[in-house]
């Protein structure tokens, strides 16, 4: 009798230990389903997925960076800049939509490469290099837009639309990039190099990994993902705004960390990040539906982030 109870608790403990963030997410969902009757409807859950998409794609990009022991503070600004370049190329320069989209994505990659060059070859701390890019990219967004929102081309607006009422494109894009991230991290040379560099950069270098080149790859990927997130955000609004995605870098980092990644590098998974982004989206959705006072919402969000990471550290220590 006692042995089966032990077995059961051991199983539960193992499931929780493997997926601390997932347990937190389930807890949140259960609590909200009880408190807000409209929470657990198909439509609302789809809404949550769509609302998580932008931060999730940003966070997938940040997962590479954080796993390799770096940080990218520029993703929100780069997302806004990429979307703005895309919108400007079509609305002002008259280029065809797909070309404009590509130019926008390219903008993200270039911004990422600049970050990567500054970090890998310029020996700047990642925090400083990407902090500079946060400011530069936001400024360039204002320069390109002249301070006003621009209409996005149809192909970008498609990214924010619904294929059918129950098949929103942002959700599909999020799942696609989830798959890509999982694949890159676990199945590619670069992915394994990221864990190696994040675990011990010197050891990675001595074992023959070209750490500088791999860092370029890391930041370029982060820039590209930021650009995709920017397109998603602009697509949902059919407009690229100069003030879009302000502060999203912090949401992205929070999602990655809630998902169990370590800011000191070497640890982190795509599933964790997805769960982290969903936790944030579920929380915001639920706070709206419960009509929590605006003054308290930020308190609650901050507290949940701290709690999630605290739980994660605790379970690591007990293991």
């Amino acid at each position: 009798m006692s042995s089966t109870v032990d077995g059961r608790t051991a199983f539960a403990r193992r499931a929780l230990a493997d997926n601390g963030a997932l347990a937190g997410l389930l807890l949140l969902v259960v609590a909200l389903s009880v408190l807000a009757p409209s929470f657990l409807s198909t439509q609302n859950l789809l809404n949550v997925g769509v609302q998580a998409a932008v931060v999730a794609v940003l966070a997938f990009g940040s997962t590479y960076v954080i796993v390799s022991g770096g940080i990218d503070l520029s993703v929100g600004s780069v997302a806004a800049l990429s979307a703005m370049v895309g919108a400007w190329s079509s609305a002002e320069a008259g280029l065809p939509g797909p070309v404009a989209l590509l130019l926008g994505l390219l903008t993200g990659v270039v911004a990422g490469l600049v970050n990567g060059t500054l970090v890998a070859y310029g020996k700047l701390p990642a925090f400083i290099a990407t902090l500079a890019m946060l400011s530069v990219a936001r400024g360039l967004t204002l320069v390109v837009s002249q301070g006003s929102p621009l209409t996005t081309p149809d192909v970008v607006s498609f990214l924010g639309s619904n294929l059918t009422p129950f098949l929103p494109v942002p959700l599909l894009v999020m799942l696609l990039f989830f798959g890509i991230t999982g694949f890159v991290l676990s199945r590619t040379y670069s992915g394994r190099a990221m864990y190696a560099i994040g675990g011990n950069e010197e050891a990675a270098r001595l074992s023959g990994i070209d750490t500088k080149r791999q860092k370029l790859v890391v930041y370029a990927l982060s820039g590209l993902f930021a650009a995709v997130a920017g397109m998603l955000l602009a697509g949902r609004l059919s407009s690229a705004g100069p003030q879009a995605a302000v502060g999203y870098e912090l949401d992205a980092i929070a999602a990655v960390v809630i998902g169990g990644a370590s800011l000191s590098g070497g640890v982190g998974r795509a599933t964790g990040t997805l769960v982290g982004a969903l936790v944030l989206a579920v929380l915001r959705n639920g706070l709206n539906q419960l009509q929590v006072s605006p003054f308290w919402q930020q308190v609650v969000i901050g507290a949940v982030i701290a709690l999630a990471v605290l739980l994660d550290t605790l379970r690591r220590r007990t293991r």
């Binding site: 301070g147 407009s239 003030q243 879009a244 709206n288 539906q289």
Partner: protein, 307 residues
């Protein structure tokens, strides 16, 4: 070869200085007055329009205008105003990030004996030569009346950044205007003056309150996000009223998806502020309070506002 290069370079330098002085020295009766404009943010079309109005007025009056963008950071703005005082500007125009937090800036200007003009938002404490503003509280009330005229039933209020003075004032005015019509607020939630957040928050509120008839948003950006969330319902069985009268907001009214907006006239605000600042710099008599009208814009009078 080398010499020619030097010559070309110096010619270029000369040309550049000529260009430079062409833009800085100014014709007209302004002499060499410089006005400092400390603006709350340029991350918002509304304030960009305010800045453009100010720039136009400065060009016409023949004064130089230096613009500093505080990026919505009140501390940043105090520093910028302090910098203006050391640059010896003739007058400072402040568009406070927050009315309550602008008093150190006002004090800095006062200590340097430089006249201060407040535009769009007031300065709660401190000496202000002139205050150029449109009345946010009155605007909120007008919005409630307009929404009450368009619909009756449950409505949602999308609020600006919690604690920001414009959000406070518009919200207060809106609540004051509520008893005039048959509308009832069933949800008030913040979407931080941001279009993307307006879309998400409205989507979430619709889940809990599917039968709402109207939306009031503290600015047009959030209203446009809400319209996205409402989809086909916007302008048909749900009426949306915004605030600001931005180009995109006016376009939404023309398209029939937004019922009304409360137009402030940011360019007029910028213009009047520069006019008062120049007068103050010349030590002429200034108008203590300049009221710039807020107007309800609907499809009927849209043409007056679309340029």
């Amino acid at each position: 070869m080398k010499l020619r290069g030097v010559a070309a370079l110096s010619a270029l330098a000369l040309a550049l200085t000529a260009c430079g002085s062409g833009t800085t020295t100014t014709g007209g009766g302004g002499g060499d007055i410089t006005i400092g404009l400390a603006i709350s943010t340029l991350d918002n079309p509304y304030f960009v329009a305010l800045k453009e109005g100010a720039e136009k007025a400065a060009a016409e009056l023949g004064v130089k205008l230096t613009v500093a963008d505080a990026q919505n950071d009140a501390t940043n703005q105090v520093n910028q105003v302090q910098t203006f005082t050391t640059q010896g500007v003739g007058a400072i125009i402040i568009n406070p990030v927050d009315s309550k937090q602008a008093s150190p800036a006002a004090k800095a200007a006062e200590n340097a004996s430089i006249p201060l003009v407040a535009v769009d938002r007031s300065v709660d404490e401190g000496k202000v030569a002139s205050e150029v503003a449109s009345d946010n509280v009155q605007g909120g009330t007008l919005a409630a009346i307009e929404l009450g005229r368009a619909v009756s039933g449950d409505v949602v209020h999308l609020q600006g950044i919690p604690g920001a003075s414009a959000a406070r004032d518009r919200g207060r005015g809106f609540e004051e205007g509520l008893n005039s019509g048959g509308i009832k607020v069933v949800a008030s939630q913040p979407a931080d003056f941001n279009r993307a957040k307006g879309l998400d928050v409205m989507t979430n509120l619709l889940q809990a309150n599917p039968n709402i008839k109207g939306v009031f948003a503290d600015n047009d950006e959030m209203a446009l996000g809400a319209i996205k969330a409402l989809g086909d319902r916007a302008g048909k069985d749900v009426q949306v009223v915004g605030f600001d009268g931005t180009p995109d907001g006016l376009q939404a009214i023309e398209d029939g998806v937004m019922a009304a907006t409360i137009a402030q006239q940011p360019d007029v605000l910028g213009r009047k502020a520069v006019e008062q600042a120049v007068k103050a710099a010349k030590k002429e008599v200034v108008q203590g309070v300049v009221d710039v009208e807020v107007k309800v814009v609907t499809k009927k009078n849209l043409a007056e506002f679309k340029k």
